[in-house]
Symmetry: C2
Subunit: 215 residues, 2 copies
């Protein structure tokens, strides 16, 4: 999406000749932590979980990628994280070398991707504040607000916000146990701020939800 805005129309064709559209289903690994970092991916449909595993089994979910997001643009030898499809996912896959050469011949495009990386860095640092300094309730509210915002930027406003990730995934994203994540979601529902529905939630009182993230 936003990437293509930086590419001249006649260059889009060239970029597309580099791409291999690929599909994944629920739970399939797009790439693995520690594996060789050979490709760059652009998500075109579905939700992708990014996580890193500690040796003793503890896990940190680093983020959830939505359509338009790039995976694996950092130029490291090995993947720092695993990327896993949550439900059906489509990606465009670019061989790293070809992608790298392509963007480095096009300063405007490189600049655009550079800026996107900077934004991702800002997001990561915001996430630090969430993990380091917020209560369980604030973390869950923050997750729902930011995921919903991103979701609606892509799919438009909707009554129900789908949550294709498990409570375990949400907990591992927010630095909480799955039980604590579940309890806080239940609490938001008990307080009539959200409604829990199958496979997602509905936001009943947006103002109160947002206010929990801002205090």
């Amino acid at each position: 999406m936003s990437l293509c805005a930086a590419v001249k129309k006649d260059e889009i064709k060239n970029l597309e000749t580099l791409a291999w559209p690929t599909c994944f289903t629920q739970g399939q690994a797009i790439y693995m932590q520690g594996g060789p970092n050979r490709c760059v991916y652009n998500v075109t449909a579905g939700v992708v979980r990014l996580d890193s595993q500690l040796s003793d089994g503890r896990r940190q979910v680093v983020g959830f990628a939505l359509p338009g997001d790039f995976l694996g643009i950092s130029m490291t030898e090995k993947n720092a994280f695993s990327a896993t499809a949550l439900g059906d996912v489509m990606v465009c896959r670019f061989p790293r070398e070809a992608f790298s050469n392509f963007i480095h011949e096009r300063p405007a495009l490189l600049r655009r991707i550079y800026e996107m990386t900077g934004q991702e860095l800002n997001l990561a640092q915001e996430q630090m504040t969430v993990l380091g300094r917020r209560t369980a309730e604030e973390r869950v509210a923050y997750f729902l607000v930011t995921f919903r915002k991103r979701w609606e930027a892509i799919n438009g406003p909707a009554l129900t916000l789908p949550l294709p990730m498990t409570r375990q995934d949400i907990g591992d994203y927010l630095g909480l146990t799955l039980e604590t994540a579940s309890r806080q979601i239940s609490k938001l529902a008990r307080d009539k701020i959200i409604r829990v529905v199958s496979g997602g939630i509905q936001v009943i009182n947006e103002n109160r939800l947002v206010s929990l993230t801002e205090q």
Copy 2:
């Protein structure tokens, strides 16, 4: 440092004509969160604290910059964080526009900075794992090991590792209170893994310290 390796020698002069060397002393703000993002800085001496403030007074220290590190390279309108000198600090200050134009005329340099941003992103995501999934003791050990490694990469091996930041800063970096940070440092000293000295620490048993960060 690492930046200059990417610049041809005759171009270094040009880059230097853009730079304003500037000094700061203990506690001075290099730039403020929310202020206009007008300059890029390269630290040449001292330690800089990067932090973001929540409206209710809670604070997250996002990192500590050492000589060679860049500040403010992400291309946002406003600063996401404040940068504060911990002791005497020297920086090279580049007007954003001039710096931006300069690097975008030099693909090799842009690529280098792009890669540095990618590394910073990886660091930020490692930090998430620390904040989300590690105990107080592991966090403090992690901080001491990584800060020491960076310090010694610049200054060479040394008996005493200076810690120019306060316990409050360390706590706010690790998502702990200053008391918990202090207690864990005391515990490491009691266990004869480190020694606490004025303005810093000495590592007595490096293996045990590192093993606390890896489990």
